[in-house]
């Protein structure tokens, strides 16, 4: 029962890894698990947007099921 979390850019730098497995649960719970595992990511998460299975998700109470994929996207800086 796991969610695959992909970390990009500043979020990856803060965690020191680009991909981790978290327990299923709400988005809020998963972000708390990330913060517990990688304290430095707490600086970055408040600025991030999220994709759940490649779709934008703004609801911290959304429940991520087994085998979901969560992408953590820091603020864009293209161009």
């Amino acid at each position: 029962m796991a969610v695959t979390v992909r970390l990009f850019a500043a979020a990856r730098s803060a965690a020191g890894t680009s991909q981790v497995q978290c327990s299923t649960g709400t988005l809020r719970e998963i972000l708390q698990e990330l913060t517990d595992s990688f304290p430095a990511i707490s600086q970055v998460l408040p600025q991030c947007s999220f994709l759940v299975n490649e779709v934008s998700c703004k609801d911290l109470d959304a429940v991520l099921l087994d085998e979901s994929m969560l992408d953590v996207l820091p603020p864009f800086a293209g161009g």
Binding site: F8, A9, A10, Q47, D71, P74, F76, A77, G78, G79
Partner: protein, 140 residues
């Protein structure tokens, strides 16, 4: 020719010279292009090197941004390329070319396309300064 003549998110070098050929058409009289090049300084600090990182969805998002622009402006064609990976100072990170019958449409579409890309494309920029510090841009 589709109005969205070229869209790429690539690690290869990009240039106005290259993309402008994609939008060339005898029907157009006005060609406007934008090149966003990597600068040797940012907020007054000297940049030693930098790198862009792209999310896997970047190509698809860029295609959507282009498709939306050509519905709103009377243009003949648009072409866009965003580079990622390490980029040397002075090289282009973003190139946009637009052809249109009239210059007002070409300027408006090119300018809005650049704004749209900057706002919507999931790409990140990492700068290393000559003093050894580094930053992810927009991520204070």
């Amino acid at each position: 020719m589709s109005k969205v003549a070229h869209v790429s998110v690539t690690t290869e070098a990009i240039s106005v010279a290259q993309l402008s050929t994609c939008v060339a058409t005898p029907a157009a009289g006005a060609f406007v292009s934008f090149s966003g090049d990597v600068r040797d300084n940012d907020h007054g600090r000297a940049v030693a090197s930098l790198e862009y990182e792209a999310h896997p969805s970047a190509q698809g998002i860029l295609e959507k941004v282009c498709a939306e622009i050509v519905t709103r402006h009377d243009v003949e064609a648009v072409a866009v390329a965003h580079r990622h990976g390490p980029i040397a100072i002075g090289e282009a990170a973003l190139v946009v070319c637009v052809s249109a019958k009239h210059r007002q449409s070409a300027f408006a579409a090119c300018s809005e396309l650049v704004d749209g890309v900057k706002l919507q494309i999931p790409i990140w920029k990492h700068q290393v300064f000559t003093d050894g510090t580094d930053e992810w841009v927009n991520c204070a």
